[in-house]
């Protein structure tokens, strides 16, 4: 099973080309000069990052033409290749920039580009790019997780509108969203996959209600979104009626090498070493305890390998081969490494992992604190990141994909 090994004249070389290194320097310089220090401090310190922080960084990148790293130039994107996108992602995450929200840029935009009409492209794409519209993803429902095609949210055609009723769930940051893209049921008299349509819904529409779901760490980043007789103009349907499943699958096919989260893993590994170099155990620094340090070594080795695997998949993309099941491998391994890192960060704290101090997650908090400031977010991060092997296609679903498409099982 060779991921990348077509025939070329030059020899194997795993380092970035001179051109790629120049690009990396350019990205680094831009981040150093333009990422506001207070936002960076929040991200690196694991503090709450506000909507304004996300939007501010998005608009800063927009001014430089970089807010939509994956877009082609014809829609106003930078037209970067897969290697450039990877370098940009890693540099941003490693430097402590807030992540660009994927829902508009990476999820709905490619569908609008491929299947939307000209009016939809002109209306929505510039506003995604500028950061004017915050998007949310309306896929999962209470009864439809891995078996997404069983979704039940109804959209009934009445003249020029669809009347929508139903519920979406696990909707990340819907409380900030201006728009939501939804898979809805427009026909029930056929196979479930053939009765689904893809609608763009204004969150300000009458009948839309957002209810926060408090998660295991006490935070509220996900929501339920309820739709009660919400009228959606037919003009907001992307593509054909009942063809939504095809578009959703196209979107899944756009799964990408960013799945591995290499940049965030690198930052968290550094953080882990930083913590272990400050925590004390048995009269020495924790990082001098071979038993704990071996755990760090193990995860660092796995990350080294995954970074190379990611670059092999990027090389595939550069050779115009679409990664399919390879993206599943990156998702499984990347999320497992992320989870190991969050667990080790928590374990490094020992008893200092226990205090629950959510007020100290707000930047500028100066009240009483048990333990070091860096300890505050770590247990919550561990708890929260159990999500990583569940979301975006659970790791079990990813293994099904690998078994089917790479092993023919």
């Amino acid at each position: 099973m060779h991921i990348a090994n077509p025939v070329y004249a030059s020899g194997m070389d795993l380092s970035f080309t001179a051109e790629e290194q120049r690009f990396r320097t350019e990205v680094r310089s831009f981040i150093d000069a333009n990422l506001p220090a207070e936002i960076r401090a929040k991200v690196l310190g694991g503090k709450h990052v506000s909507k304004d922080d996300f939007v501010r960084w998005h608009k800063t990148l927009y001014q430089n033409g970089w807010s939509t790293p994956n877009w082609p130039t014809e829609f106003g994107g930078p037209g970067w290749n897969a290697a450039q996108q990877h370098i940009f992602d890693v540099e941003c995450a490693d430097a402590g920039a807030p992540p660009l929200m994927p829902f508009g840029i990476r999820m709905v935009a490619p569908v609008i580009m491929a299947f939307g009409n000209r009016a939809q492209q002109d209306r929505f794409l510039p506003r995604i790019r500028s950061g004017e519209h915050w998007w949310a993803q309306g896929y999962s429902e209470p009864g439809s997780g891995s078996d997404l095609a069983s979704l039940r949210m109804r959209a009934e055609r009445r003249g020029d509108v669809y009347v929508c009723n139903g519920q979406k769930t696990w909707t990340t940051l819907a409380q900030y969203a201006d728009w939501i893209f939804c898979l809805v049921r427009t026909a029930t008299d056929r196979r479930p996959q053939q009765g689904i349509s893809f609608l763009l819904i204004d969150m300000k529409s009458p009948g839309v209600t957002v209810r926060p779901i408090v998660t295991i760490d006490g935070d509220a980043e996900v929501n339920e979104v309820w739709f009660e007789d919400v009228e959606v103009p037919v003009d907001n349907r992307v593509g054909e009626e009942n063809q939504g499943w095809t578009y959703a699958k196209y979107l899944l096919g756009h799964e990408r090498t960013g799945n591995a989260g290499i940049g965030m893993c690198k930052r968290w590994l550094k953080a882990l070493k930083h913590i272990a170099s400050r925590q004390r155990a048995g009269g020495r620094l924790l990082i001098d305890d071979p038993r704990f340090r071996d755990h760090i070594a193990q995860v660092e080795i796995e990350l080294m390998a995954l970074e190379i695997t990611t670059m092999r998949v990027i090389a595939m993309e550069l050779a115009n081969q679409k990664p399919g099941p390879e993206a599943s491998m990156l998702k499984v391994q990347g999320t497992e490494i992320q989870q190991t890192l969050t667990e080790l960060q928590m374990l490094a704290l020992g008893p200092q992992a226990l205090p629950y101090q959510p007020q100290a997650l707000e930047a500028g908090y100066s009240g009483p604190l048990s333990g070091p400031d860096y300890a505050v977010p770590l247990t919550g991060r561990y708890l929260n990141h159990r999500k990583a092997s569940i979301y975006a296609g659970s790791n079990e679903i990813q293994r099904n994909i690998i078994a089917k498409h790479m092993l023919g099982l």
Binding site: M1, I3, A4, N5, V7, Y8, S10, G11, M12, D13, L14, S15, T17, E20, R28, V43, G45, G46, A83, D94, A95, G96, R267, L269, K270, A271, K273, H274, I275, S277, I287, P290, R293, D294, A297, Q298, E300, I301, E302, M304, A305, L306, I308, T309, M311, R312, A315, M329, Q333, Y374, P377, E396, R399, I402, A403, K404, M406, L407, G408, L409
Partner: protein, 390 residues
């Protein structure tokens, strides 16, 4: 970045595959393993003809001036067919050491003959009590006129029974455990005072225990600087690790193929067992381990001759740890999914598993290299970007 093999490398892989497809069927391999010498001189001659023995040797001594990536291509192909010929001990370790450390005279005398398949080398370094610790050398080399006299015991010398010349590590100074004071000597395997007891290893390869009793060598037997042997051995073993990693990769790829084919045909409860999700997921995990091992094998092949010693050491340790862990996972999974047939002598899968297991134990096991990487850990507090974050 470029993960592509060159046209020449692809041709080499194809030529090797053709050669082994004909000359290394499973039954043929069994005969070779059972033979007196434990390897086939005919196969060795064909490998020489193909240029596979000399590819990484310098051009002025009949080689092609190739790199560790060329060796990777060869080792992966040898792994796929479970080739037992002593490529790693004679070529990767032995010839590699002479090419890197030898004097002009030593190189001119040995390398062309090695590349032609006329001469076999082996590295006699390990001793009964050293486990994987390179510095624990007790064998002595006492100055004697212009030469030396060697005394000591060497154990599990890979390829040692067939070797014409042994590269023996011996102390010219210091005590066992000292990193300095070990020198390397080229010793004729038939020299008076050298006794060898050859035997088969668990995977069908050959090794020997070697006793040196008052073995006299000339001054020009010294290979590399006096007292500087450990660094040379370490670098040779890094090449050895790169090579067996590639071999393991070939073996693991075959095991995933064999196992996924098997579960598609083996029926229980009226269906192919490959329809059971629990088996599918185990195979998916095996495949992911293989791809991670492939990445590390590419990394070490492109790092093993790096001038940055610290980076080379870290990558070597990381590669051997990860590849050994992957080998264990993939090998054990392949046997388990084959069921009872997997532990029979007639099933190829059992032979692949044995070789894979021996590779995990060769040149340091996973724990040894994990500990090494851990000791060499880049602690990250260099005040660089993001070093102060959580």
């Amino acid at each position: 970045m470029n993960f592509d093999f060159t046209e020449e490398q692809n041709q080499l892989r194809e030529a090797l595959s053709r050669l082994l497809e004909r000359g290394y069927e499973f039954d043929k391999r069994k005969q070779i393993v059972a033979s007196e010498a434990g390897y086939s001189r005919e196969i060795w001659r064909q490998l020489a003809e193909l240029g596979a023995l000399s590819i990484a040797l310098p051009e002025q001594h009949g080689g092609a001036g190739g790199s560790a990536v060329d060796t990777l291509v060869i080792m992966e192909a040898l792994g796929r067919k479970l080739v037992v010929e002593p490529y790693v001990p004679a070529i990767v370790l032995g010839a590699g050491l002479v090419a890197r450390a030898g004097s002009e005279a030593q190189r001119a005398r040995l390398l062309p003959r090695i590349g032609d398949g006329q001469q076999l080398l082996a590295l006699a370094h390990d001793e009964p009590d050293n486990r994987y610790e390179l510095e624990r050398v007790a064998t002595r080399a006492r100055p004697d006129g212009a030469g030396y006299v060697l005394d000591g015991h060497k154990t599990v010398v890979l390829g040692g029974s067939a070797a014409d010349t042994l590269i023996v590590s011996a102390r010219t100074a210091g005590e066992p455990g000292d990193p300095a004071g070990v020198s390397l000597f080229l010793v004729d395997a038939g020299a008076p005072g050298v006794t060898r007891r050859g035997y088969a290893t668990q995977d069908g390869h050959r090794a020997a225990d070697v006793t040196l009793t008052g073995v006299k060598v000339d001054g020009d037997a010294l290979l590399g600087p006096a007292g500087g042997g450990i660094a040379l051995v370490e670098h040779a073993l890094a090449h050895g690790i790169a090579a067996v990693s590639a071999e393991a990769l070939g073996i693991m790829a075959v095991l995933v193929d064999l196992t996924s084919s098997y579960v598609k045909t083996r029926k229980q409860f009226g269906v192919p067992i490959g329809q059971f999700q629990v088996l599918q997921h185990r195979l998916a995990d095996m495949l992911m381990r293989v791809e991670q091992a492939r990445s590390m094998t590419y990394l070490i092949a492109t790092t093993v001759d790096s001038a940055d010693d610290a980076q080379r050491r870290r990558v070597t340790a990381a590669a051997k740890a990860l590849v050994s862990q992957a080998a264990r996972f993939v090998g054990q999974g392949a046997i388990q999914l084959h069921g009872g047939i997997g532990i029979t002598d007639e099933a190829p899968v059992s032979h692949y598993f044995k070789r894979l297991t021996i590779i995990t134990l060769t040149f340091g096991d996973a724990d040894h290299h994990l500990a090494r990487f851990s000791d060499l850990l880049d602690r990250g507090d260099r005040g660089d970007r993001g070093a102060r974050d959580v």
